[in-house]
């Protein structure tokens, strides 16, 4: 599978002999498009969320600014921009100013590795031809694309954490402590569920993963479509601070959490980053598990065949849209978890499940690589299951012992 990919997997457009204006124009165009998609997408996401939540609550939602209130976000943004920028007396001024950018920039950069479309009609591999150059509809395609995403989302944690810490106020501090614990522990589950996908696809490059999922049968529904998908979805929701995991900014408890003290454009940056993250992580989820811009063929019927080369983008939008809707739906319905329940879910359920599943997949992959016989394969599976069962028993024993010790010490006051 790796061999099928162009060798310098960075970007076929940069792999040309003739360096003239075309590659530069293409890269510049892509940067522009990604930037605009990021901003406009966020704008519509905010509008979409407000409108859908309003519907779910029997309200109208924004409908005054622009047609259907579409420009409401723009109006809010302009208002925020002109508001007074307050910096608390007791804050760490440099970090306080830095933090919004730490949250905002990674949210933008994630877009650079997400395949935004491409020509997948008739089994093509998604490359398109612009200005006589073969290229992908993706800003950059580094061979370590997924790792880049993980790194960026880790940096975004710093934004939230430092924002809370540097505010010099108690509620943001609580929010920041929650943020660091929550995001770091869910990062682990996120990474582990990701590993399963990477193993199934055999590559770290996002375009490679998409290319490996060109048919529904190649979506690895059994190996990655259930357990890692659900784990990834939950961990991602926690990572994004979306309800029901929005403890970091729980208004009712800690008054907005890390951004309590922020105002004006700095607050707007956090706000933008949050919604942009929602879209970009949904796009990542679609890329990793649901074939990204690959069309979902019913027989050989492509819903967006009329759009030609833009069909891929349409498919991506449709799939992302589905998840955005699910997020909004969750937000309208679910109450928030408590901090310790969140940690329980992360450490006692998601991480063990993701880890166990990963080990199982790894063992099976090992068996496949070594060309085991039928008997050997079955033995391997049985051994794996036994080991996992043992691990589960040990795990529950550890939890119950810890609980007993805690009760004995009377830690619960």
């Amino acid at each position: 599978m790796i061999a099928m990919l162009p060798v310098p997997a960075v970007d076929p457009v940069l792999d040309t002999e003739s360096w003239w204006w075309q590659p530069l124009a293409i890269v510049g165009l892509k940067v522009l498009v990604v930037f605009i998609i990021g901003l406009v997408g966020t704008m519509f996401m905010v509008w979409f969320e407000r409108k859908i939540v309003a519907g779910m609550q029997n309200r109208i939602g924004p409908d005054k600014a622009g047609p259907f209130g579409l420009l409401q976000t723009l109006a809010d943004g302009i208002k925020l921009f002109f508001k007074e920028d307050l910096i608390p007396e007791r804050s760490d001024r440099f970090v306080f100013k830095l933090a919004p950018f730490l949250a905002f920039v990674p949210a933008f950069l994630i877009w650079s590795v997400i395949p935004l479309g491409g020509d997948f009609t008739d089994g093509r591999d998604g490359t398109v031809e612009w200005f006589g150059q073969i290229t992908r509809v993706q800003l950059a395609d580094p061979p370590v694309g997924v790792l880049l995403v993980l790194a960026l989302s880790s940096i975004a944690v710093y934004g939230v954490m430092l924002a809370g810490w540097s505010s010099g106020s108690k509620y943001p501090l609580l929010g920041s402590v929650r943020a660091s614990a929550q995001m770091i522990s869910y990062e682990a589950a996120l990474g582990l569920s990701l590993a399963a996908v990477l193993m199934a696809a055999g590559t770290l490059s996002t375009s490679g993963i998409v290319a490996a999922q060109d048919q529904l049968t190649d979506w690895h529904l059994l190996s990655t479509g259930v357990v890692p998908f659900v784990v990834f979805l939950i961990a991602m929701t926690a990572e994004l601070n979306r309800p029901p995991f929005d403890l970091v900014e729980a208004e009712q408890e800690i008054v907005g959490g890390f951004h309590t003290e922020y105002s004006s454009i700095r607050f707007a940056l956090f706000f933008l980053a949050e919604f942009m993250n929602v879209i970009s992580m949904s796009a990542l989820l679609v890329t990793l598990f649901l074939g990204g811009p690959q069309p979902l063929l019913i027989g050989s019927f492509d819903l967006f065949a009329v759009l030609g080369p833009f069909g891929g983008t349409a498919w991506l939008l449709l799939k992302v849209f589905l998840f955005l809707y699910v997020y909004v739906w969750f937000r309208a319905t679910l109450p928030r978890l408590r901090y310790d329940q969140l940690m329980d879910l992360g450490w006692k359920v998601l991480i063990p499940v993701a880890l166990g599943w990963f080990l199982l997949l790894a063992a099976l992959q090992l068996g496949r690589d070594n060309d085991l016989s039928q008997v050997g394969y079955v033995t391997l599976v049985i051994v794996c299951l036994v080991v996992l069962g043992l691990g589960y028993l040990l795990f529950t024993a550890a939890i119950s012992v810890a609980r007993r010790n805690r009760d004995r010490e009377g830690a619960a006051y």
Binding site: V53, M56, Q57, N58, R59, K170, Y171, L174, V177, R178, P243, P244, D246, L247, A250, E251, Q252, E253, I254, V255, R331, A332, T333, L334, P335, R336, L337, R338, Y339, D340, Q341, A412, Y413
Partner: protein
Amino acid sequence: MTMLSERQQLSYIASQAADARLNVELETEGMTLNIGPQHPATHGTLRIIARLDGEQVIWAEPSAGYMHRGYEKLTEVRTFPQVTSLINRIDWLGSFANEVPFILAAEKLMEIEAPPRAQHIRTILFELSRIANVGLFLGDLGVQMGAITPVFLAFRDREYVLNLIEGATGGRFHPNFDRIGGLKDDLPQGWIDETRQVMKKLRGFCDEIEDLLFGNEIFQSRTRGIGVIPADVARQYGLSGANLRASGVDWDLRRDQSLPMAWDKVDFKVWTHPDGDSWARCWVRLQEVRESTKIVDQLLDTMPAGPVMAKVPRIIKVPEGEAWVSTENPLGEMGYYVVSKGDLGPFRVKIRSASFNNISITPWVLKGVYVPDIITILASLYFILGDIDR
């Protein structure tokens, strides 16, 4: 006396020093967190001073009085008819219910009784204000835990009840409809049919909230076993209303007291729950709203004809004496101790409002819980700030 070698002595001293150092190093000062007076979850200006260890509360105390309006004193310089216009601002969500005990106390002193039709309508309006009040609680409950939809549904459906109250009394929040000796006016035409429809709607609302919130696993894990108040502790702190019933105490002034109201003419169930946790308090209130709609329906069916005002002198002078009347208000037991010296106005009024006592248990119940649970427990104890500070 055992002799210690020098070496042993030294090691003993060293270990003591190490212990001391360890204690100094590990002993962290708790963080004092002021929840309120300006906080989204305190329904006004309640202040909870909480000392935290991490996210765990090791000590908490409510500090009330940021909205004290001095009603007990204000009533002393008002005449009896004027008092009702003030006191329905105590528990502003169930305002009609505030007027009733005071009027009953004044009637008790004057030894008059409202005609049966007036008693009936009073009871209906009392239960309507209970529905409006506790219905909003059911919505607010969700929003305190981050589910934003229930509160909008609650506001939507409370509006129907408020329209009813406004249709009958002229005031949505501050009816000022109760008079010594009866009511200001009779019901307008078509009100009874409208009320029946609204009661049906509200039963639908209760089902909706039950599906949306009470069945939700996250909600259950947030409320079950949180903020448990055993029955005897609840009694000691003077809890009343649904908070007491949720601790398993079968106590309801509507049933246990004989007042000149129409509750003895209807058949209703007093819901209790043995658990005493936040879940129980929420659940009992949900059932109470349902029960109230049934009470209203029954009262509408058996409405007697007749006047709504007894014979009362034009200038009301309440004879000398003291009277205590308390009723089962939406928040719990609310009572007025009225002392009259035979003047136009009361000499002294002591107001026993339910929330003040209900909130007094917070230092006991908040010990050892997490910060999010503070909010849940406060929400489930259900206070109205005007009812605490008066």
